[in-house]
């Protein structure tokens, strides 16, 4: 099998450990080692690498919502280093769907460690606008959500598209909610997206679930940007 990133052959050692079933590998050791997992101290709210229990971003959100933050917490697996940026660019912007399979494998492993005890909970991917979906032909958040062992429901929709990246941080934080709910639910949800950057997008989505009375609203993202 070839590495899904560099196309070098992945060499599998044949010894006793190969007899134990392992999740499929998509990346060679070299490529895998270039990805950096968040391992040290992190903000308990947003997974940012941080010595403080609550990072400066989250302190801002706490004040902003005066204790009524719709998001229970976010958990991310990787940092957004150069290699990850290259992979994301090829996956999302170039539309190389197969790159996402490597992420799916990490994403489901991380889920088992962090969320497996939760019952009666569904995964909801952050949607793309129709226009963007037509262009990309797949939603990267859906691809990640589908890798999880809990039911996945696409109950969010995005009604207008605006390029997030072109706005300033302030504009992003104060911009209007681009999402709508297609139906109401009252379970707990895990919002799934590829990257948590300022937390604005996730909170727009989270606030809708909060309004309809969902108990807990988590976010699970591949990367803390």
């Amino acid at each position: 099998m070839k590495c899904t990133w560099c196309f070098e052959e992945i060499i599998v050692d044949v010894n006793w450990s190969t007899l134990i079933p392992k999740p499929p590998t998509y990346l060679c050791d070299t490529c895998e080692n270039k990805l950096v997992k968040i391992t040290g101290q992190r903000c308990m709210m947003c997974s940012r690498e941080s010595k403080m229990k609550l990072c400066s971003d989250c302190t801002y959100w706490k004040e902003h919502y005066k204790g009524e933050d719709p998001l229970t917490s976010n958990y991310s697996l990787f940092t957004y280093n150069q290699h990850m940026q290259d992979m994301i660019a090829k996956w999302k912007y170039r539309g190389d769907y197969e790159v996402g399979k490597a992420f799916q494998s990490y994403f489901s492993q991380g889920f088992k460690q962090k969320f497996s005890k939760m019952k009666n909970i569904i995964a909801v991917p952050i949607p793309l606008s129709e226009e963007r979906l037509e262009e990309r032909r797949f939603n990267q958040a859906l691809m990640l959500a589908e890798a999880l062992t809990i039911p996945c429901e696409e109950i969010l929709e995005r009604d207008h598209s605006e390029k997030q990246s072109k706005k300033t941080r302030y504009q992003r934080i104060s911009s209007e909610n681009p999402f709508k709910l297609k139906k109401t639910i009252n379970k707990s949800v895990i919002l799934v997206d590829d990257i948590y950057t300022t937390g604005t997008t996730i909170r727009h989505a989270a606030s809708l679930f909060k309004q309809v009375g969902c108990e807990a609203i988590y976010a699970y993202t591949l990367i803390r940007g």
Binding site: K2, K90, G95, D96, Y97, E98, R137, N139
Partner: protein
């Protein structure tokens, strides 16, 4: 832009579109038209669709890059069609080719390129040897010969040699492409060509180039960029036809072949032809011309071999081989800069710190983000010793260097690489010689052949005097 209400395009609109799109093979998103404009263009048969993949008995072939390797064939569940599609991962960096999106080729009138009366604004002079080769190239173009191989040694001055041929093609109103494997080379050639053909439309295309349109009469491009062309060029010049990745990557010959017109002339340039071309030359099965002598008339430096008994052991300890240090201290001309080729990135980095030369030492490799900068500093003599992997084996010119290859027995140093490496020395007429030493722990065929082929060229050059 287009007048879509009126079904007939104005002459100028049509000319504009023809220049822009003829000879192109494009994805819809690469055609800069609104949906209405595009529908109208389709209705008037300005573009025709062509399938993105061809299935051949056991595999699918991407019709843009020619890939048919299974591991480059991706599958994607298309949200629009609600079906699984194939897509090509080989060329996905240049836009995704997938089964539900056709490729478009221009189907409108043929483009008429300007017939320039006197396009060449270069005032330099060719040496008699250069002139002989360039005359041969002019002939090939005039007679519409299919192919000509120019075998010119490193430092022969091949760019200038091309000018008369390109001039001739421009006079005849032909469209020209010079394709080279490396973006560095395109960037370096672009200003020289603009200077030499000041009134001709010229564009440089490479990944991330400011020019994207590719609608000029004279195109300088990396070979990768050719995947967007079909039946476009009357004259195709392929530089360093032996270089990686051209000879390794079957996509590139596929694209280069498709990019030229059925009646076209192809010029191959090389200093170190691969076996296949050498055989064709020996058997006189390919028209060719030699340029066995450098523009300054001096022979190529012939490498010397130095055996190092404990080479592997010393390299493991990140030490320079002792014979190398001995040679270093007794160089004939210590004022020359030193270019040291090593086999791996690690070795380049580790050796850099291992010995105190009391000079500025740097290392460089393919993924080094400061690669361009370091090469520039070396050129400006702000760095005295540069340790490099094979990335600097070709395409770069430094005026006055000695060259050492450490662990020349290593596989990465094949014959072509060693000839190219030796060709870095003595490039300037002010210092036309330079030492080239291969430090090894066992003579390889590649070393012997490299020396032989350099000597052969020198002999051929001598005969011309």
């Amino acid at each position: 832009m287009l007048n879509t209400k009126n079904p007939l395009y104005s002459t100028t609109d049509l000319q504009e579109l023809t220049k822009r799109y003829s000879g192109k093979l494009l994805l819809r998103q690469e055609i800069d038209m609104t949906q209405d404009e595009f529908s109208s263009a389709i209705k008037h048969q300005l573009f025709s669709e062509t399938p993105p993949f061809k299935s051949k008995s056991f595999f699918y072939q991407c019709q843009r890059c020619g890939n048919n390797k299974k591991y480059y064939l991706g599958t994607i569940p298309c949200a629009v069609c609600q079906k699984n599609h194939y897509y090509c991962r080989k060329c996905v960096e240049m836009g995704r080719v997938m089964t539900c999106t056709p490729l478009y080729i221009w189907n409108g009138p043929e483009a008429n390129w300007e017939m320039h009366e006197n396009p060449c604004t270069w005032s330099g002079e060719l040496t008699s040897v250069q002139e002989k080769a360039s005359k041969r190239m002019v002939e090939a173009i005039q007679n519409r010969e299919k192919v000509l191989l120019i075998w010119a040694v490193c430092g022969a001055g091949k760019t200038e040699m091309l000018f008369p041929g390109i001039t001739e093609a421009l006079k005849m109103g032909k469209r020209i492409c010079l394709a080279t494997p490396r973006a560095d080379v395109v960037r370096e050639l672009f200003p020289r060509f603009k200077e030499a053909f000041q009134d001709v439309s010229i564009q440089a295309l490479y990944g991330g180039s400011p020019d994207k349109a590719g609608n000029a009469q004279l195109i300088l491009a990396t070979t990768h960029q050719l995947i967007r062309y079909q039946e476009a060029f009357d004259l195709m010049i392929i530089d360093e036809v032996d270089a990686f990745p051209f000879h390794m990557d079957p996509s590139l010959p596929f694209a280069a072949n498709r990019a030229k017109k059925t009646t076209s002339t192809t010029i191959y340039l090389t200093a170190t032809p691969r076996k296949i071309h050498r055989k064709l030359v020996e058997q006189k099965k390919i028209p060719h011309v030699f340029v066995p002598i450098r523009y300054h008339g001096f022979p190529l430096p012939v490498p010397t071999l130095t055996l190092c008994f404990s080479l592997k052991k010393q390299l493991k300890l990140n030490q320079y081989p002792t014979p190398f240090l001995k040679w270093y201290q007794k160089r004939k001309n210590p004022s020359r800069q030193l270019l040291i080729f090593v086999s791996t990135i690690d070795l380049a980095q580790n050796l850099k710190k291992s010995h105190d030369f009391q000079l500025k030492v740097e290392s460089v490799h393919a993924e080094d983000p400061e690669r361009e900068e370091k090469v520039q500093l070396f050129r400006k003599k702000k760095i005295d010793i540069l340790l490099t992997t094979t990335i600097l084996e070709r395409g770069v010119t430094f005026p006055s260097v000695d060259v050492a290859v450490i662990d020349a027995s290593h596989d990465v140093f094949d014959e072509a690489a060693l000839v190219q490496i030796a060709g870095r020395a003595g490039r300037n007429s002010n210092d036309p010689t330079g030492e080239v030493v291969f430090f090894h722990d066992g003579k390889t065929n590649a070393m012997v052949q490299a020396i032989r082929s350099i000597q052969k060229m020198n002999k051929r050059g001598e005969a011309l005097k």
